[in-house]
């Protein structure tokens, strides 16, 4: 299905991975010297789940590069204009987040964030940013959030769904408290720092196994947030799952409630049906959708999910998730499309909410539409 109106808020759009040459101006002399002498400047820092030539990594018609076109022009032509996008929340999934050296990882994350602000956000008012942080070190992550948060164009903090530990653990709470303090949502994106095997039974052999395992990782992450009490500790935090899929959600909702009833005493702060809390606090991106063969089935899945607030429009650009302009799966009810594309994203990102409220107050729309 095509988008039939303008004003969409795309919650998951990927910017090209900046090479080390692009990032070098954003690191200081010490680290520049380190990166050169240790040959780190020759690394591409691509996360290994999506090497450049995998079929899903980039849509075929988006692979060609026109000499006359800047990367930003290409992004506008392929990802912003065709879908009537008013705002797109961009992310850069840089391999820095998988480094074991916390300090080096933090320096590179800062460089990625500065690159996003200077080389992208400064030039395209429709773009919003994600603050990439070193999730294994709450200290570094919080410092980076504090450093970048004044720039209101950044609307979320970005981590991989599989890191050093289950993301609900208390050692990571300073990150979530910093998010809440600054009105940033927390985004977990598909992917792993590969500290652990992506399945509970060890290392898979093939990409298909790795890709399919992602949805389990999201289930684990969401349950960890609920059970550890992150949502109690941070009553205003929204957890946004990017590239998570969502058709697996109904069974998680049912299973959560069922198991909770029998063992709720061990985590008594979770004091009501966990599925209720999940529906209030967890958001999931639309693309990639694990779409059933026909739209009627998708309608049934949505009925099982039983909540219109949870899905957020996303292109997942430039990954190959749909053809042409058919960015919406068949079967989305009309009344839900508008919610998914505009209202839910605004409600899920405090900074977008503030921005839209301010725009309404002054009585004129931002020039970004």
């Amino acid at each position: 299905m095509k988008v039939l109106f303008s004003g969409a808020i795309d919650c998951d759009l990927h910017l090209p991975l900046p090479g080390m040459a692009t990032l070098m101006p954003y690191v200081d002399a010490f680290w520049r010297e380190q990166f050169v002498t240790r040959r780190i400047d020759r690394m591409d820092f691509a996360l290994t789940s999506f090497p450049a030539q995998t079929p899903l990594g980039m849509r075929e018609d988006w692979r060609d590069v026109r000499a006359s076109e800047t990367p930003l022009d290409k992004l506008r032509r392929e990802a912003l204009t065709p879908f009537g996008t008013r705002i797109a929340i961009a992310s850069i999934l840089h391999g820095a987040v998988a480094l074991y050296n916390d300090d080096m990882a933090a320096v590179l994350c800062s460089a990625v964030n500065d690159h996003m602000a200077r080389d992208w956000l400064d030039h395209e008012p429709r773009l919003r940013g994600s603050i990439l942080v070193v999730a294994q070190s709450a200290e570094h992550a919080v410092r980076e959030i504090e450093r970048v948060a004044a720039d209101k164009r950044f609307v979320q903090v970005l981590m991989l769904v599989m890191g050093d530990t289950l993301p609900g653990k208390r050692q990571l709470w300073p990150i979530y408290r910093a998010c809440e303090k600054h009105g940033l949502s927390l985004a977990l994106h598909a992917g792993s720092a590969y500290r652990h095997a992506p399945t509970g039974s060890g290392w898979p052999s093939y990409y298909v196994e790795d890709y399919v395992a992602q949805s389990t990782a999201f289930e684990n992450a969401i349950v960890s947030f609920l059970a550890e009490g992150v949502f109690n500790a941070c009553p205003n935090l929204k957890l946004v799952c990017l590239e998570s899929g969502f058709t697996w959600l109904p069974t998680l909702l049912w299973r959560l409630n069922k198991e909770w009833r029998g063992v709720r005493q061990e985590a008594p702060w979770l004091d009501r049906m966990p599925a209720e809390v999940l529906r209030e606090r967890v958001r999931l991106s639309l693309q990639p959708v694990d779409a059933p063969p026909d739209g009627a089935m998708l309608k049934r899945v949505l009925a099982h999910i039983d909540c219109d607030d949870m899905l957020l429009f996303s292109s997942d650009y430039p990954h190959a998730q749909f053809k042409g302009l058919e960015i919406l799966p068949d079967g989305l009810p009309d009344n839900l499309i508008r919610k998914i594309m505009i209202e839910n994203p605004i409600a899920s990102y405090p900074r977008l909410q503030a921005e839209f409220a301010a725009a309404q107050e002054t009585g004129h729309e931002r020039a970004t539409s």
Binding site: R170, E228, G229, V230, N232, A233, W260, R261, G262, V263, R264, Q265, E266, A267, P268, W269, D271, M273
Partner: protein, 137 residues
């Protein structure tokens, strides 16, 4: 409602429990610190025998990492899947609106009073000088 004499009070001292049969129903009777409670011996969730349940309180918390056991001995945890039921009302803690264990009125009555009838005593003769546990079904 029929009064069923289901046990002599001696058999159900504080801390004791007894599975009884009244009007063809299996009923789990508990004496908690001198107060009697009676629930159908069948968990409304998975059919577990509530007579084997664990009598406990309510785990509460005001924030993650803080634990408190409140209302001790007011709840029964099913031996099968751990669902919690309030002994006094049969209400489940996790889903009080839609799931509750069948609860029966139970009290101790003196044989003298019982003799005035009517009542049903399936298992034994009622002596005027003793106390009995009476379940109303």
């Amino acid at each position: 409602m029929t009064k069923h004499v289901v046990a002599s009070a001696d058999e159900l001292q504080p801390g004791q429990r007894k599975l009884v049969n009244a009007g063809g129903r299996e009923i789990a009777v508990f004496n908690i610190a001198g107060e009697m409670f009676a629930l159908a011996n069948r968990c409304p969730h998975g059919g577990g025998p509530l007579i084997e349940g664990y009598v406990t309180g309510l785990a509460l918390s005001s924030r993650p990492g803080e634990y408190r056991l409140a209302r001790e001995n007011e709840f029964l945890r099913c031996p099968y899947h751990g669902w919690e039921f309030e002994l006094r009302t049969g209400q489940s803690y996790c889903d009080p609106k839609s799931v509750r264990a069948r609860q029966f009125s139970v009290h101790v009555e003196h044989g003298e009073e019982l003799a005035k009838g009517p009542y049903a005593a399936d298992r034994f003769e009622v002596a005027r000088e003793k106390d009995y546990v009476v379940v109303e079904v």
